[in-house]
Symmetry: C2
Amino acid sequence: MIVYFNGQYIPKEQVVISPDDRGFLLADGTYEVVRIYRGKPYRIKDHLDRFAESLSKIRINFPNPHVFESITEELIRLNGLENAEAALYIQITRGVAPRRHPFPDPSTPPTVYATVYPVKPDTAKWESGVNVILTPDIRWSRCDIKSVSLLANVLAAQEASEQGAEEAVFVRNGFITEGTHTNVCAVFGGEVWTHPAGEFILGGITRESVRELCQQAGIGFVEKPIPYDRFLKADEAFLLGTTTEIMPVVEVNGKKIGTGRRGTVAKKLQELFFEMTHS
Amino acid sequence: MIVYFNGQYIPKEQVVISPDDRGFLLADGTYEVVRIYRGKPYRIKDHLDRFAESLSKIRINFPNPHVFESITEELIRLNGLENAEAALYIQITRGVAPRRHPFPDPSTPPTVYATVYPVKPDTAKWESGVNVILTPDIRWSRCDIKSVSLLANVLAAQEASEQGAEEAVFVRNGFITEGTHTNVCAVFGGEVWTHPAGEFILGGITRESVRELCQQAGIGFVEKPIPYDRFLKADEAFLLGTTTEIMPVVEVNGKKIGTGRRGTVAKKLQELFFEMTHS
């Protein structure tokens, strides 16, 4: 596997992250994941806009994140993934410096790492749906930043996994926010509801795709927080994510949502999303 | 500099953190800092007890953290720091594995890194005192875990630094919790007040030392949350930390605390702390 590291294309085994990297010591970095359909990155410009936003919010100086468009092309080529189902992972940290909390000397170059790797879509689960658990949202209140400071997400995802669930869905002040690595939607009376953008969720790119598809299909798209008890009584629910795509939720905390099977709105959106990503 | 890395003593330049390390990708790790006075680690057993607790809270399987007592001795010897003012930094992450939020296969060995390095105590500031700023505590609600998921602390520390302050002090729901890397005390009518232990602060080892010193000196030690507006009117205030020790706060948000000079309680505790650490 050839990866991109600090300006060079090298075998992954040759990458050396320093123990003084602020990503390793202080979670002082941000990342992005882009889905690659049959060798073509999907909405990479939107992902890189969001990446630029996260970098700017935590003030890591990286002038042109859109350079990853050509880096990604090169990584796809170098790894022979021109026709593959794959994903791109990019991470930028505030670089290598003696450990102190405040930013290091401004001349410190950021650490830049990117890799592409094959993915195997969960097609069976897109049909069967998955179960999720609800868990208190104990994360910080800047979830709009796609940072690597992810321990709370790790612990919640592990809790889900141990309960045989696919995802943990966070509840803050009684409202559904999002999953550990997905946005969350529920359907009420034919309308798709999801938490509004802001500091409590990461505005997903798939969420944007679904907003557009709803518009196109004449389905209402409502950005309002969903009380968790109302969520349990939704007609249907689904998760959205870059590699998760549109994943029906059929069970919450061991109890059926709606019919306990993939809902008609989820199925419709999946079909439209497939067309959108494969056109 | 010789460091300890996954069972070996090697030059720091030879340490290779993998880009798949869960510390780098997911902030999935914990750390500890121990002060070394004239070559002797101070309260290392207490630090390692706390380290064991953090490891256990995030469920990283590392059976005997107290092995760092002998590792530290060896690092001190190998680096010729037998009589030095120094510090130990230890970090353990959940190891190297393909990126997923839930824990990796239980057989994945943790990444273990430890280093000792000389420190130069801020003796002048212990006398002059420092200024701090107040900032909203936007961190997660498990601050009792000494994790490397520190981006919120980094951003707050940088804010302080840009305002010419030594530390940022967090305010949650109107109450002083702690600093980005220190505990915070205020003095009211001769009594030392500090936030109670729990999920909103990390129970510091220096905080424990100060509790004992207060007892010894007949000074009241009150574990109650301090409303931030009351904090501004404290007779004196100080920060506590492993390398910070007991640091008088003389200004908050640009305004004097008490007399605007080191207070008598801080001075007394500093003297007793010096005796305690140098006996």
